[in-house]
């Protein structure tokens, strides 16, 4: 079925934010108000809103088209309008302006388990939840066994779900949702719930959906998932459609947005020292930059970056070394890098010195890390713990060829394996340890 599945033109939604009530000037006025208030509230309510209010545009001027079979990611920061877009397209709420045409059967998944009733059994909830998601009784019946198998709730099928563990409830909810067969699927951040295994299952389903030629609009904060699943991506920001294009372009622009709002990448380190045994040398500043020299504390996975440490030296010191330690958030030191190792300095004269660490080849897993700084010399040492948090994003920059390794573990590795097949035989290229 070629053609356009989704045609969105100038779609917008505004909300009214109630203005603060005017301040009262006297007690008698306040008393009077309390009598008048019910009436005024009633009038305001019938008039269609709260008191005089500023419109707030959650989404505005969204125009795009999606052809049948496309899998489109929708990304953006919190409050960018992603969920509003899905709510409009799934008809949960009406737009304020613009229009959209949808060609085909739509199912939206804004939340798993919508309409679950705790008193009903798993079996009953499968039927009710399926129906509310838009499946017919016959469809549910024909997929019932699949759903139960997928949810893995076997013996609890006829138990009220209020006695289920929360994990079981989520599994059941997703199992039902996963067996929807709409032509157009609108999915919001459902992957954010549940454990890793469940998230993986969701992604597997999404992948299946895209392979079977379904049109999918996929809202997510999980950039890796978007990069993995989508062929095209929309970037929303403050209610506007900023980028409509390749996933790489959208993700790259999104990373720029994130960098903008990232905590300052230039840290004034004066007075941050926790342990100090000298005033001959002081670390005054730390600056983190990405490979293009833009200051940021958010780095795409696999990207190179630089750390710049500025040191003020007040009298000559010998054998000075600047150290930078990287800790996981639970306080485990992952590694320490010292300038002495590659740049031994016999003597530094008074003045300022800039130490630059080029962060290359060492790849951190996506997540938050905290950096410690320090220096030591013959004059003494200084230690500045946790001066800044570094965030490795769960996304690769568009020019990076890195693939995010999701196998568990603290460190990444690319160590080669070799395999011997059968007793005594050597597989091609494999070697044995004699």
């Amino acid at each position: 079925m070629p053609g356009t599945a989704l045609q969105v033109e100038g779609l917008g939604k505004s909300y009214r934010i109630g203005a603060a009530a005017p301040t009262r000037r006297s007690l008698s006025e306040a008393l009077g108000d309390s009598f008048k208030a019910p009436l005024r509230r009633l009038r305001a309510g019938i008039g269609g809103g709260l008191t005089r209010a500023e419109p707030f545009w959650a989404l505005r001027d969204a125009t795009f088209a999606v052809s049948a079979g496309q899998v489109v990611g929708v990304i953006g920061r919190n409050g960018a309008g992603k969920t509003t877009l899905l709510r409009l397209l799934s008809r949960i709420t009406d737009p304020t302006e613009g229009q959209a045409r949808i060609n085909g059967r739509v199912a939206s998944l804004l939340e798993v388990g919508t309409g679950f009733h705790p008193e009903l059994t798993g079996r009953e909830n499968i039927f009710f939840n399926g129906a509310i998601l838009g499946m017919t009784r016959r469809e549910i019946q024909s997929k019932f066994d699949q759903i139960v198998a997928f949810a893995d709730i076997g013996p609890f099928l006829d138990t009220p779900i209020k006695r289920y563990s929360s994990g079981m409830q989520v599994r059941l909810a997703f199992a039902v949702a996963a067996h929807l067969e709409p032509e157009i699927l609108l999915v919001d951040e459902v992957l954010a719930v549940g454990d890793a295994g469940f998230q993986k299952k969701c992604l597997g389903k999404m992948q299946g959906a895209s392979r079977s030629g379904r049109t999918v609009l996929f809202v997510s904060h999980n950039l890796a998932a978007v990069q993995h699943l989508c062929s095209r991506c929309l970037l929303l920001d403050r209610g506007r459609l900023l980028v409509d294009g390749s996933v790489a372009a959208a993700v790259s622009a999104y990373l720029d947005l994130l960098r903008e709002e990232a905590p300052s990448a230039v840290v004034d380190c004066r007075g941050r020292a926790q342990k100090s045994t000298t005033d001959a040398a002081r670390i005054t500043r730390l600056k983190l930059c990405d490979a293009h020299g833009r200051p940021t504390t958010r780095i795409a996975f696999g990207a190179d970056f630089n750390a710049e440490v500025v040191l003020q030296v007040s009298r000559p010191v010998h054998d000075l070394s600047v150290g930078l330690g990287v800790n996981s958030l639970d306080g485990v030191r992952l590694f320490t890098s010292e300038s002495r190792a590659t740049q031994p300095l016999e003597r530094i004269e008074p003045g300022s010195a800039v130490f630059r660490l080029e962060w290359k080849e060492l790849v951190l897993r996506p997540g938050l890390y905290s950096l410690d700084l320090g220096h030591n010399s013959d004059a003494g040492s200084e230690f500045l713990p946790g001066v800044v948090q570094l965030e490795i994003l769960d996304a690769t920059d568009h020019n990076s060829r890195a693939v995010i390794d999701r196998r568990p573990g603290v460190v990444l590795n690319t160590m080669p394996w070799s395999v011997a097949l059968g007793p005594g035989t050597l597989h091609q290229g494999a070697q044995t340890c004699a």
Binding site: G45, G98, A131, A209
Partner: protein
């Protein structure tokens, strides 16, 4: 034991996908198979399946745009969702008597116990008129309709607010909520109705052929409950005052309707206007059909019918007008 690699799935697939099948794996912190090990076809893909077999589904075209003014009742869409309506009703019925000792007995017990109280206070002590029908029989008959009406009205007025979570996450015709809220009570009414022949026999009466018309007057009561329920449900979304108003309203309506007394209590010259309360027609008609009390109350039923139709129509349109903000004002 050594197994030829060729017979195995790619090692990546084994590591990455196998634990996902049981959903219990905590071994992986991964959210997606790595690109390198992404299998060509995944068993997971099959569950989504291809678009529905059995002939091409009719193309459904949805046009989304701002709604201004009054929206029409989309009967076609309601019809498409009839199965969901039955699911809503079915859910309410399933949940209604879960974890209760007496279960559906409550359906009979409620009007019966109220009948006893009414007989003592209104029948004996206050000496309310009952059209020459033994007071217990009179009040039980009235209470069948009244209990249903009060329940349906209360449920309908809470229906949207009670399903707020669903309303803000899924689209379906919102009208299904108040409509479905008024239906489960019909089953209770039917169960309690079974008591009626027993009571008729006890008081030495036999039902006439008109008893077959009783459902029509239940239908009238239903439309009043739904009409008022639609108004209240829509207002309730914005103003939770409704929650506090409804119990009071129901109580007031009880005494404004001929439940504990016959219409003859109302001064004769006001009686024609009395049926502006549409429950008057429903109650009078119902009692006429079940108790065979004299002539058919034409004027009361006629006027009530008109008022009920107006209430229902205005309720439908008001509800449709307000429903666009339901998901926003949650």
């Amino acid at each position: 034991m050594v197994v030829p690699i060729e017979d195995q799935e790619p090692i990546g697939a084994v590591l990455m996908d196998a634990p996902a099948e049981d959903g219990t794996s905590t071994q992986m912190d991964s959210a997606t198979p790595s690109l390198a090990t992404r299998p060509e076809t995944s068993p997971l893909a099959e569950a989504w399946g291809l678009p529905q077999k059995g002939g091409p589904a009719p193309q459904r075209l949805t046009h989304i745009r701002p709604r201004r003014g009054w929206a029409a009742i989309d009967a076609g869409e309601l019809w498409q969702h009839r199965e969901l309506l039955s699911f809503f009703v079915w859910r309410d019925l399933k949940v209604r008597y879960k974890q209760t000792l007496l279960g559906a007995t409550w359906a009979v017990l409620q009007p019966f116990a109220t009948m006893i109280v009414f007989t003592i206070f209104f029948g004996r002590l206050a000496g309310m008129p009952s059209d020459g029908v033994p007071y217990p029989l009179f009040s039980f008959t009235s209470l069948l309709v009244w209990t249903y009406f009060a329940g349906a009205l209360t449920q309908a007025s809470q229906s949207v607010v009670n399903n707020q979570a669903t309303v803000s996450k899924i689209y379906f015709p919102r009208l299904l909520l108040p409509v479905s809220a008024t239906l489960p009570g019909l089953l209770d009414l039917t169960i309690a109705f079974v008591m009626l022949p027993v009571m008729l026999l006890y008081f030495g009466r036999s039902p006439g052929w008109h008893i077959a018309l009783a459902p029509l007057f239940v239908l009238l009561a239903w439309s009043v409950a739904l009409g008022a329920g639609l108004w209240l449900a829509a207002i309730n979304v914005r103003f939770r005052d409704v929650r506090h108003l409804v119990p009071f309203l129901v109580q007031f309506w009880l005494f404004a309707s001929p439940v504990v007394f016959a219409v003859s209590l109302v001064p004769t010259r006001w009686q024609p206007l009395y049926a502006l309360n549409p429950l008057v027609g429903a109650l009078e008609g119902f009692r006429w059909s079940v108790l065979s009390t004299g002539t058919f109350p034409w004027s009361a039923v006629g006027l009530s019918l008109i008022v009920a139709a107006g209430l229902l129509t205005s309720g439908l349109y008001f509800f449709r007008h307000q429903e666009r903000v339901f998901a926003d004002v949650s």
